[in-house]
Symmetry: C2
Subunit: 300 residues, 2 copies
Amino acid sequence: MGVIDKLVVCGVGLIGGSFALALRRAGMVRRVVGIGRSKESLARAVELGVIDEASADWASALDGADFVLLAPPVGQMDAVMAAMAPHLAPGTVVTDAGSTKRDVIEATYRHLGGHLAYTVPGHPIAGAEKSGVDAAFASLYEGRRVVVTPLPENEPAAILRVREAWEACGAVIHEMPPQEHDRVFAAVSHLPHLLAFGLVHDLAGRANAEQLFSFAAGGFRDFTRIAASHPEMWRDICIANRQALLAELDQYLAELAYMRALLLSGDAARLEQLFSEARHARNEWGEQFANSANPASRSE
Amino acid sequence: MGVIDKLVVCGVGLIGGSFALALRRAGMVRRVVGIGRSKESLARAVELGVIDEASADWASALDGADFVLLAPPVGQMDAVMAAMAPHLAPGTVVTDAGSTKRDVIEATYRHLGGHLAYTVPGHPIAGAEKSGVDAAFASLYEGRRVVVTPLPENEPAAILRVREAWEACGAVIHEMPPQEHDRVFAAVSHLPHLLAFGLVHDLAGRANAEQLFSFAAGGFRDFTRIAASHPEMWRDICIANRQALLAELDQYLAELAYMRALLLSGDAARLEQLFSEARHARNEWGEQFANSANPASRSE
C-alpha cells in the first residue's frame, strides 16, 4: 500500500486519534490534519502529537488530502458530509467509523452522490473505558475486527485502500452488506445497551430505589456497566438503527415471554435446560473472546 | 457474644466454608463439624482446616451443637430440614444462607415447627467468581451485607446470636421482612440473571449464532457474565422466588414497551433523557458500590 500523504481525521477522539497514531506508528502516513467541533480538543490533539495541525474549515483540510476518516458521533454524520461535499477532490478516499451503517450510507447518497466510487463505509469494533483524544493509543486496533460494508458504486481500488489502512493498524477486516452489519450489531451490542439502560431506569424510578441500589452487588455491576455509556452517542445509534433494533427487541420479548411462561407454570426442568444452554454458549464464547481479544481494548 | 462450642455447617462450600473460617479467625468457635452431599468435598474441607471433622449423619452432627448454618443450594433446603428435624435439641440456634427467604421459611414451618423460636432465616450478600470449599476464605464477609429476616416466633436471644455471629465475620447486618427481602433481590439480582440467561439463549438459538458471537465484544461480555452462573442454583432461586420475580419481570416488560414506543416513533429526545437518567443513577451507584465493597468479594 502506498503511504498516505495527507490524512484528514474528522472527530479526533479515541477512535479517530487512535487511527492516526496507529498509521503513524506503521509509517503509513506523512501528515495528519484534524477537524472537528471542539477547538480545545483539536489543540490537545496537536499537543499530544496525534495530529500535525488543526484545520478550521473543510476547504483547507481537504486540499491535497488523499484519505479521510470520519469519526464523529453518528448523529452528526449527515451535517459533516454536507459540509465537506463541496470541497472533495476526485480520488480522495473517504471512510467512516460509524457504529451503524444504513444511516451513514443514506447520508452518503444524500450528500456525496458525486463521490460514491471513493466513499467506503466502515466500522471498527473497538473502544475503551475512556473517550476523547487523551485516551487514544496506537495499539487500540491490534487484533480487533473492522467491518467494511462496500457500496455497489465503490471502486475496488478504494475498498482496497481502506482495508489496507485498517490492516496497517493491526485490525482484521470483514466485509459484509450494510443491512447485515446493522442486524448483527443490533443483536450483540445495541440491544444489550438498551436493556441495561432500561433496567437501571426502571429501578431508579421506584419509590424504594435507594434501598434497591443499596443491596445491588457484583452481578448487577457487570450487567449494568454499559448503562453508564454516553447518552447522546447511544441515542444516535438506537435511532439510526431502530429498524434492526426493533426486530431484535421483539425477538427478545418473545424469549422473555417464554421464560415468563416457565416461571408461571413452575417448569423447573425447562428453566434449568434454558440456563444450561445459555451457560454453555456463554462459556464457549467467553473462552474464544478472551483468547482473541486485545486486553487493552474493549467494545463497542 | 459467647463463643460457639460446636458449629455445624451443612454445605461446606464457598459460603459455608468462609463462615467457618471467619468465625475461627475471630476466635468465636471451638469446633466445626461439616455435613453435606459430597464425601470428597467434606474430606477436602478437613484437609484445608475449614472444618474439624465430617459427619455422616445428622444425629451425631447435632449432638451437642449450639449453632447450625445451612448453606446448601436452596432447592435442597426442604430435604435438609426434614432430615435434621428429629435430631435438633431445644436451644440449638439454626440459621441459613439461602438467596431466597419465603421458600426457606415455608420449609421451616413444614419441618421445624417445634423449633421456630431458634430458627432465624438469613442471607449473606456475598459470593465470588469461584465456588466450592477450595474457594472459601476468612475475609469473604468483611464489609458485606447480611440480611436477617426474623420470624415472629423467634426468641430475641436467637436473633441476637445470629447477628453476632455474622458481625464476628465482619458483616453489616440488615433486618427486614422476608417478603421485602425477596422483592428487593428479585429486582437487583434474580431479574438481571434471568435477562442475561435469556439474551444468550436467544442468540445461541439463531441460525447465524456463530457470526453473531464472533462480533460480540466487551459490552456483551460484561452484560452476559452472569449468564455463566450455575444453572441448578439459579433454577432453584427463580422457582423459589417466582412470585416476586414475575412481578419484577412484568414491570421490566412495561419499561421495554415504553422504550419500544420511543424507538417506533423515533422520539430521540425522550430516549436520550431516559439514557441520561439511567447513566446518572448507574454512575452514582457505581461510586458508592466501589467505595463500600470489599474488592475480594463479589455478588451474589
